[in-house]
């Protein structure tokens, strides 16, 4: 779905990512991981077309970003920012309605779509609340509903891509579960997903593809089996740990460098 070819981003003389060539496979969940400052958000922004110089080096559906019309792109590619917040009081319903207006729905279709997604995301009782009064978790679910509405109906989801920037950072365990389930369901319908997340133990297990960045360069990319291994993770995060088998045959990465047990003696 997304391909970068030798992408380099230089901002104010500082090279943020250098010669990055990655391919995010269509219909899969891909995760970008790396230490802070590795260039994850820069890569994300480049994929979103935020850097004018890099537009021709990013291909979306085999077509360079600078040849896409912004409006067409918005119907197939949605983005959920980290901790999205607004200062202005809009009801959740209004918020969803405005985003759904990308598509020419009739009024009854619109109501039906919003109802469907509100129920799926579990925000149907928040619709008349103002977006300024929601908790971080509720807002993230509203954002997910908003992004889904932006992309349109299920029948063309396989052409669509959803980018999530640290979606779980403000959520509790229960809310995370809810969100990850929504992401997986979106993927099962054929949608492509790109995630940046610090909770690598969770995302690695729901990902089909991992891109690992270090100092603005690709350290490794591929299936979790290939990338999510002790040596690579050690190098990526500059620490020493090991990959163990967690519950449900999930693989988790545990650092062994620090002994965090409190010595009360």
């Amino acid at each position: 779905m997304f391909t970068t070819q030798g992408l380099t981003v230089i901002v104010k003389g500082k090279c943020l990512i250098e010669n990055v060539s990655v391919t995010f496979p269509t219909g899969k969940i891909s995760t970008i991981i790396g230490a802070n400052g590795a260039g994850k958000s820069t890569l994300f922004n480049a994929l979103l077309g935020e850097y004018k110089s890099g537009l021709s080096n990013v291909l979306f559906q085999e077509c360079a970003l600078d040849r896409w019309a912004l409006e067409d792109l918005s119907k197939v590619r949605a983005y959920i920012a980290q901790g999205a917040r607004t200062s202005f009081a809009l009801s959740v319903l209004d918020y969803l309605q405005i985003s759904a207006e990308t598509h020419a729905y009739s009024k009854s279709q619109l109501v039906y779509r919003i109802a469907e997604i509100a129920e799926k995301t579990g925000i149907e009782h928040k619709l008349s609340d103002s977006v300024t009064t929601l908790s971080g978790g509720e807002m993230q679910l509203v954002e997910f509903a908003r992004a889904t509405l932006q992309l349109g109906t299920a029948d063309h989801i396989k052409n669509c891509c959803l980018l999530l920037d640290e979606p779980s950072s403000a959520l509790d365990i229960k809310q995370r579960q809810k969100l990850y389930h929504l992401i997986i369901e979106f993927n099962k319908q054929g949608g492509t997903v790109l995630i940046i997340d610090h909770d690598i133990n969770t995302v690695a297990n729901l990902s089909d593809y991992i891109v690992m960045l270090k100092n603005g360069q690709v350290l490794a990319q591929g299936s979790p089996e290939r990338v999510f291994v002790t040596d690579v993770l050690d190098e990526c995060f500059n620490c020493s740990g090991e990959v163990r088998e967690g519950p449900n045959r999930h693989r988790i990465y545990v650092t062994t460098e620090f002994n965090l047990e409190k010595d009360n003696g």
């Binding site: 922004n45 979103l48 077309g49 935020e50 912004l70 409006e71 067409d72 792109l73 918005s74 119907k75 590619r77 949605a78 983005y79 920012a81 999205a84 607004t86 200062s87 202005f88 009081a89 809009l90 009801s91 319903l93 209004d94 918020y95 405005i98 985003s99 207006e101 990308t102 009854s108 109501v111 039906y112 919003i114 109802a115 469907e116 509100a118 129920e119 149907e124 619709l127 008349s128 009064t133 932006q150």
Partner: protein, 348 residues
């Protein structure tokens, strides 16, 4: 599924009913305010006299047609213009405290108006009639400060919002400093003219001032109205808006130009009427919504009505003297605003 859908359509209907009711109610209040505005004033003549009484002098008719009518219309148009530009600037800057002052437009026109008074008092303008010199200068001041804003904050056609705010602060400070220098240079009588211009006044407004103001405000409003969805999305976050298909740079550029033109005509004939651009948008946001398809017309109507009401009060409280209009917009609007804030606080 169907229950939620029913609930949503019911909620939409309810909201639309409330929005429509308030919008229509406020719209209906405008003709009432207009009739009152035309009917009261220090000269004892009112609309009924003109319409039905035969023994009426030419002067009395002229008081209505040449003084009160254009003045009432001017208060409504400038009130609407200032409120709308406040709404747009708040959305653009994603800052609820933004108003026409934030980008330095008011300060720029105040400075140029002061320079105009200074030139009039010393060498005088060649070619420009005296009565047009100050409005023209104020207009150029507004345009000039916007151009300066782009020069400082813009880079190859891009406008960074946080830089815009800082550039606005810089322009405000620069204009205030230069105004201070002008004040040091001018004589006592020019100083007083500058002070009074800054207080704002609708005395002496005729159709010659009203017509260009109406034209610019209507064109500006029409442009902004067409961008209502894009501007709502912009107010929710720039990057987000771009991923939703909005060409934010172009949108910001043109909206800023439209807003600046509206503010420029609204302050150049009447001076600066404070408060309207900041508080009217908030009153409307609190009463209804921040959705621009509703907020824009509502703020225009409330802004126009409020300034017209304030002008009625300014003209009649201490007849035949006039009070500064800015004082009365605040006097009328602030208590209501405080009440709304208290109410909002209670909900949370």
């Amino acid at each position: 599924m169907s229950t939620t859908a029913t609930r949503i359509s019911r909620q939409i209907t309810k909201h639309e009913l409330k929005q429509r009711t308030l919008l229509i109610a406020s719209l209906l209040s405008l003709p009432v305010i207009a009739i009152v505005a035309i009917s009261v004033g220090p000269a004892s003549v009112n609309l009924l006299d003109v319409m039905f009484q035969k023994s009426i002098t030419e002067l009395q008719v002229n008081i209505i047609t040449d003084i009160r009518v254009p003045r009432m219309m001017m208060t409504m148009v400038t009130g609407a213009g200032l409120a709308v530009s406040g709404v747009i600037l708040q959305s653009m800057f994603k800052n609820p405290l933004a108003d026409p002052g934030i980008v330095g437009v008011s300060a720029g026109s105040a400075l140029f108006a002061a320079i105009g008074f200074w030139i009039n008092a010393s060498i005088g303008f060649a070619f420009i009639p005296y009565s047009l010199s100050i409005p023209l200068m104020a207009f150029f001041g507004a345009v000039f400060s916007i151009a300066l804003l782009f020069a400082i904050a813009g880079e190859s056609g891009q406008l960074q919002t946080n830089l815009l705010v800082l550039a606005g602060v810089a322009i405000n400070t620069l204009a205030t400093m230069l105004l201070g220098i002008i004040i040091l240079l001018v004589d006592d009588s020019t100083l007083r003219q500058i002070t009074f211009w800054n207080l704002g006044s609708y005395a002496g407004i005729g159709f010659t001032q009203f017509a260009p103001t109406l034209l610019v405000v209507v064109i500006g409003f029409f442009f902004l109205w067409r961008q209502r969805r894009a501007l709502t999305l912009l107010s929710l976050g720039e990057k987000q808006a771009r991923t939703q298909g909005i060409k934010t740079e172009k949108l910001k550029l043109w909206s800023l130009i439209a807003t600046a033109a509206i503010v420029a005509v609204c302050v150049c004939f009447t001076g600066i009427v404070g408060f309207v651009g900041l508080v009217v948008p908030h009153i409307c946001r609190m009463l209804l919504t921040s959705k621009l398809s509703i907020l824009l017309p509502f703020a225009a109507v409330v802004g126009g009505g409020l300034v017209a009401l304030a002008d009625i009060a300014a003209r009649t409280i201490n007849m035949p003297e006039e009070l500064p209009i800015g004082l009365l917009t605040s006097l009328l609007g602030v208590p209501f605003f405080i009440w709304l804030i208290r109410k909002q606080r209670g909900i949370r």
